[in-house]
Symmetry: C3
Subunit: 262 residues, 3 copies
Amino acid sequence: MFEAKVASAVILKKIIDSIRDLVSDVNLDITSEGIGLQAMDSSHVALVSLTLHQKGFSEYNLEKPVTIGISVSNLAKVMKLASNDDEITLGLAEEPSHLKVVFMNKKQEKRTQFDLNLLTLDSEHLGIPDTNYTSEIMMNSFEFSKLIKELNTLCDTVTIETTIEYVRFSLESDVGIGNIQIQTSEPAEKKEDAADDPKEDTPVIQSFALKYLNMFNKASCLSNSVKLMMAAETPLVVEFEIEDIGELKYYLAPKINNDAPQ
Amino acid sequence: MFEAKVASAVILKKIIDSIRDLVSDVNLDITSEGIGLQAMDSSHVALVSLTLHQKGFSEYNLEKPVTIGISVSNLAKVMKLASNDDEITLGLAEEPSHLKVVFMNKKQEKRTQFDLNLLTLDSEHLGIPDTNYTSEIMMNSFEFSKLIKELNTLCDTVTIETTIEYVRFSLESDVGIGNIQIQTSEPAEKKEDAADDPKEDTPVIQSFALKYLNMFNKASCLSNSVKLMMAAETPLVVEFEIEDIGELKYYLAPKINNDAPQ
Amino acid sequence: MFEAKVASAVILKKIIDSIRDLVSDVNLDITSEGIGLQAMDSSHVALVSLTLHQKGFSEYNLEKPVTIGISVSNLAKVMKLASNDDEITLGLAEEPSHLKVVFMNKKQEKRTQFDLNLLTLDSEHLGIPDTNYTSEIMMNSFEFSKLIKELNTLCDTVTIETTIEYVRFSLESDVGIGNIQIQTSEPAEKKEDAADDPKEDTPVIQSFALKYLNMFNKASCLSNSVKLMMAAETPLVVEFEIEDIGELKYYLAPKINNDAPQ
């Protein structure tokens, strides 16, 4: 048996909209620590990792850990029945055949219940290795989203290069060649520390498919900032903190080097 | 000969947009009481009934009653030539071949005239019987519109159940099963009377095609509230009052019972 | 060698969006007086003429006049990388193979550079003859844009008739016939002069393809007013002044007379 409440539907609606274009049927892992989801897109190039911490729920009661399979696009349709400030209750019976989703509006006069059919899915054990990322960049999420969207109209691949002073996005296509260079604005004291910090001393340069980065953009409504984490020969991590409840990370494998612009 | 004026184009524009998806060629019945329209959709499942009262027009001169056939979608295109606060004059000559539509803007410096060709249509005598509706529900029209739109993404059929305390919309599909229950908020004195009023004592439960209900939604811009009227084995009435001038009613035949969720 | 700066990207973005639907590959003529562009649409019915005066640029350095070929749609995609208030620098090397476009944001921390590949195009010498237009009408550009858009849903051709007192747009289709008549509001002193001015004494009536007029509408965001200039058996000129920097003119050949409504 499981029951959990979220005070306001809007965050869950945005989270589900952020992943529905990338993954279709997924397993949710419900444990005493919270709800987790890890799934690869159908081409196995990108990975979505969502963590919702137990402490982010207003109520959270779980007897024993359980994994349930759901259709993300069906859940997204159900979530649209909620008004943004409805309270949401999620529930599972013993041996559940469905996820019970209840929305109650503020005035307590409108109650929506939907029993979403569960799916039986192979569980993928994805095992994301702990990585020592040599480069971490914070950007305004709206600016990142707009940048990726416009680059995607110009070409297929972007090369991201980070140094201690800037991050540079480069592209090359039959339209021409170009780059966008953004100074990284660290607080002064962090800059002094940087000499001791191997993370910020190692420039990284890697190329990625813009199509996937553009799909990650849906999550820019979840947070004002986005963190890009890179290391050589390692997938890029695009991370959005979700206030008070958890985080949504996208992993994207780099393109092999001979695709990159010079 | 006929001539009638409406002080502001915006209402007529909205009315015509509200019916253009449902009916194409229709007869307008112009009498000393006003302008009326009754038409079935092409599949003969839904019926539109529009009444514009003579007293809602700023001028209204008619020699003798007349029925004219028009193309709703062509009239909608002509209406788009009007600015929202233009004054509209409708006119018919003796033995008319066209409906003369004139828009004059407030500053009296822009005058648009369009002579819309008339059509010769078989006149359907639809004969809507007077029905004693056992259930009448008022809802916020925006909320009703949003609800129907979202349900329509989840399944084809909704079952509507009304009791003295609530109205409940239920659905069942391969996504799962669900319902939305809304308390009916009657003023206290009306509730006391209710015991004497057979209307509010008889629960009704019937199923309807969401596709049509969703087409009625266009009219939600005409009024802040919508009235649902039901009785057993009788078409649902979805009624929008149009301030100062009339009302727009949609009738929708129920689905046969074995389609309904349990 | 050429380098020119514009203080704010938004005007250039709007200009390029205003012509991209009409012309694809064009020559830019860069002289000491400014940047000019003249190009016909692929069906050779409409002509675009853009003039950006040298004094409208915050910097403008040119060694010797040069003509370069560019893809308008590719330039439009590149311009989307700019924020509206970015400063733009355009640059050409000696014997250039590309147009260097640099955007710098206000805070000077984001720099975008794109080297747009140049095209080798046949240069068309279009030679627009000096015409004594017998009719000049100023209209609100938004109102003109809305009018043309709505007429375009009703038919293919509009007949424009100008007199000293009004401009009238007429149409005829199987939907019906109609016209929009707008009084021309000249300042009083101009009206007195009019008796001496042959321009305003000669009514003009000509028919035009709405499809093209509708493509000119994109430019209505460049200026609050639009000037229509007509003379018998001469292309219509639809002119938008672009504040502080230049003007954009569209020329449209009239339809032959037997297409016009009576």
